[in-house]
């Protein structure tokens, strides 16, 4: 167990170091930051001052170590475009993205598992078949088209829900939340559906196929024969055993939710980190791009690690096999 954990943590650290190198190389070799930050009317003195201020006059390894040290402390430099510290901008934007991702993930997991169980139990029913066919469309529609369609239907035609932004937000400490106002909650509906739909269909189809597999097994038949209630059989016995692959996929999908938030945030002009990243790419704002890259890598690597460890602790067979192998 311990060896496995250490191995996985070491691998994760290696990945992060590589990503750090990529991020740093972007800083060092893409474009001239001085060019980007100073306008047309600059003097040599301005250029020299900024060069020293940004540390661009020092040798490569020194800059890399400095960069890593700064990154660990959450200091990603100054945005070329906004002229403010990147960490401040990120902190400002993070709540929007995290709230959106949390609601989407919640929708995806609970509705996904619920519908998956439903379609597996009522396999022949009309409703289950309809849901399955609809899910096919959900998988093949690109995210941004789903968003646009929802906007067209609910904002333009029906006028029920806002088409962009977060609505009114309330500041709680350093966190601006949209959960506490009516307009904030209304603004969350369309983006979170857009973002969560793909993951939801994925989880639903996975749960369904796993459930169908499990329901065929002998111990389920035996549980029925013992006279257990249908509900107990379905949820206590069957669902529990479908959860291992579901957790893996769900965990990995949570990372994608953060990544795909870029698309949803652009469609809905949601003032989150994803929109910031897209704008950074458009204006070649390297510090913001690099910081986003580092943040999202930490998130992805962390999620992967947690999923691996969870997998390990949920499935006793894995543990048994490993101890035998060693």
């Amino acid at each position: 167990m311990l060896a496995f954990v250490i191995q996985r943590v070491a691998q994760s650290a290696l990945v992060l170091l590589v990503v750090g190198l990529v991020a740093f190389s972007m800083f060092r070799f893409v474009g001239d930051p001085i060019d980007n930050m100073l306008g047309q009317e600059r003097t040599q003195a301005d250029i020299d001052r900024l060069r020293t201020q940004l540390g661009l006059d020092q040798p490569f390894p020194v800059q890399y170590v400095k960069f890593l040290g700064n990154a660990v402390q959450g200091n990603f430099g100054i945005s070329y475009r906004q002229g403010r510290p990147v960490s401040d901008i990120l902190m400002e934007r993070a709540p929007a993205t995290l709230e959106l991702a949390a609601v989407s993930g919640f929708l995806a997991i609970f509705i996904g598992i619920g519908l998956g169980v439903f379609t597996a139990i009522r396999r022949e029913g009309f409703a289950a078949n309809a849901i399955m066919s609809l899910s096919l469309i959900g998988v093949s529609l690109p995210t941004f088209l789903i968003g646009i369609l929802l906007i067209y239907l609910f904002s333009v035609e029906l006028g029920w829900l806002p088409s962009f932004g977060r609505g009114d937000t309330v500041r709680v400490g350093g966190w601006s939340t949209g959960f506490l106002t009516a307009s904030g909650l209304k603004a969350l509906i369309l983006p979170s559906i857009t973002l969560g739909l793909y993951q939801m269909t994925l989880i639903m189809r996975l749960v369904r196929s796993e459930m169908l597999e499990v329901l065929r097994q002998d111990y389920i038949r035996f549980a029925r024969a013992r006279g257990l209630r249908e509900r107990a059989v379905n949820f206590r016995h069957a669902l529990k055993n479908t959860l291992v692959p579901v957790i893996t996929v769900t965990g990995l999908q949570l990372g994608s939710i953060i990544a795909f938030a870029i698309i949803t945030e652009t469609v809905f002009q949601w003032p989150g980190v994803g929109l910031l990243f897209i704008n950074a790419i458009q204006f070649v704002d390297i510090p913001v791009m690099a910081a986003y890259l580092m943040l999202i890598s930490v998130m992805f690597v962390g999620i992967n690690l947690i999923v691996d460890l969870l997998y390990f602790s949920i499935d006793p067979r894995l543990r048994a096999d490993r101890t035998k192998a060693h």
């Binding site: 990945v15 590589v18 972007m26 070799f29 893409v30 474009g31 093949s140 529609l141 690109p142 995210t143 941004f144 088209l145 646009i148 906007i151 067209y152 333009v156 088409s163 990372g255 994608s256 990544a259 795909f260 870029i262 698309i263 652009t266 469609v267 990243f277 897209i278 950074a280 790419i281 458009q282 070649v284 390297i286 791009m289 890259l293 999202i296 890598s297 992805f300 690597v301 992967n304």
Partner: protein
């Protein structure tokens, strides 16, 4: 005994069936004929590819020729004569009086070109690296597959965005629009090679221990020749399937990037760029500028996808 009599060991001349007739009798064609989904999606893809290739001939207008545009034609509704000029456009016009049907044809051209080129690039890169990893093994394999693993941790679209962003930073400002299409191809291609590399590596590991490879080695063929002439043809089947599915994904990836404004520039609009432009007119009621490019993209991606699914089943019955 006559001169015409054949020697006893002469081969009996039976006319070999031609390659074409063999192909037509194969299971492959048989399942194709039996699958309406495959036939319809194949027809849709074929029509779209032809329409895209011959866009200058098919399109009623050239949307990039300023001389042919008439601002008075702006915002014409589909199938309705324009109030000022009386011209009728099948799918309407945008704000500058550009025929939406024509822009879709030209946009589809760019979408398909970028998608196909990106998949080709990913395929070549993936096959090369995957085969090297599988055949050479050792450190080469470790490095290639570790890179693949790391890249697989991140969603392809994110990798493509990042590569696009970096490339944009490297290219000088005045070339950015011209280079955008090529940058896009490289970005999507680089984000997608891992799939190919993994499958080809797996197949190569199986193939390289087979007798024909040992035989080739015995007669002194060099490693590159063995990889290229002997192993490659035997691993191409699954590659073809992944390529089809990748094409659908690449088309959607391109559309997504262009929609986000980090892809094809407005001077060379792809379907995604057209959707991006169209979204701006949604609120003022000009739905057709958005709807038709979106429907085209959907039809294209869906048919390629269905075709890929069918191909996977047809070529590999075990997966069914």
């Amino acid at each position: 005994m006559t001169d015409t009599q054949l020697p006893p060991d002469a081969p009996i001349a039976v006319k070999d069936p031609s390659r074409l007739s063999l192909a037509l009798q194969s299971d492959f064609i048989y399942t194709f004929k039996r699958s309406p989904v495959a036939m319809i999606s194949f027809a849709v893809v074929t029509i779209m590819v032809l329409a895209a290739i011959f866009a200058p001939l098919v399109a009623p207008y050239n949307p990039f020729d300023p001389a042919s545009l008439n601002l008075m034609n702006g915002f014409s509704r589909p199938m309705t004569p324009n109030a000022f000029t009386g011209d009728t456009f099948w799918l309407g016009t945008d704000d500058q009086g550009r025929d939406v049907f024509s822009t879709i044809l030209y946009g589809m051209r760019i979408s398909l070109f970028v998608g196909a080129a990106a998949v080709l690039f990913a395929m070549i890169l993936g096959i090369t690296l995957g085969m090297l990893a599988g055949y050479v093994g050792g450190w080469t394999e470790t490095i290639i597959m570790r890179v693949a693993d790391v890249q697989l941790t991140f969603p392809a679209i994110l990798v493509a965005m990042l590569i696009f962003g970096i490339a944009k930073g490297i290219t000088p400002v005045e070339y950015r629009d011209q280079m955008a299409i090529w940058v896009l191809i490289i970005a999507i291609g680089l984000s997608d090679w891992v799939q190919f590399a993994r499958v080809v590596r797996g197949a190569t590991l199986v193939e390289k221990n087979k007798e024909y490879v040992q035989a080739a080695r015995l007669i002194g063929r060099t490693s590159p020749a063995i990889m290229l002439r002997h192993i490659l043809p035997n691993v191409l089947g699954p590659v073809l399937v992944i390529a089809t599915i990748s094409l659908a994904l690449a088309i959607i990836a391109e559309a997504t990037l262009s929609f986000l404004g980090v892809g094809a520039p407005p001077t060379q609009p792809s379907l995604g760029t057209l959707i991006r432009i169209g979204q701006g007119f949604l609120f003022s009621g000009e739905w057709w500028i958005l709807l038709f490019p979106a429907a085209t993209l959907l039809a294209l991606a869906l048919s390629v996808n269905l075709l890929g699914d069918w191909l996977r089943d047809a070529l590999n019955p075990r997966l069914r």
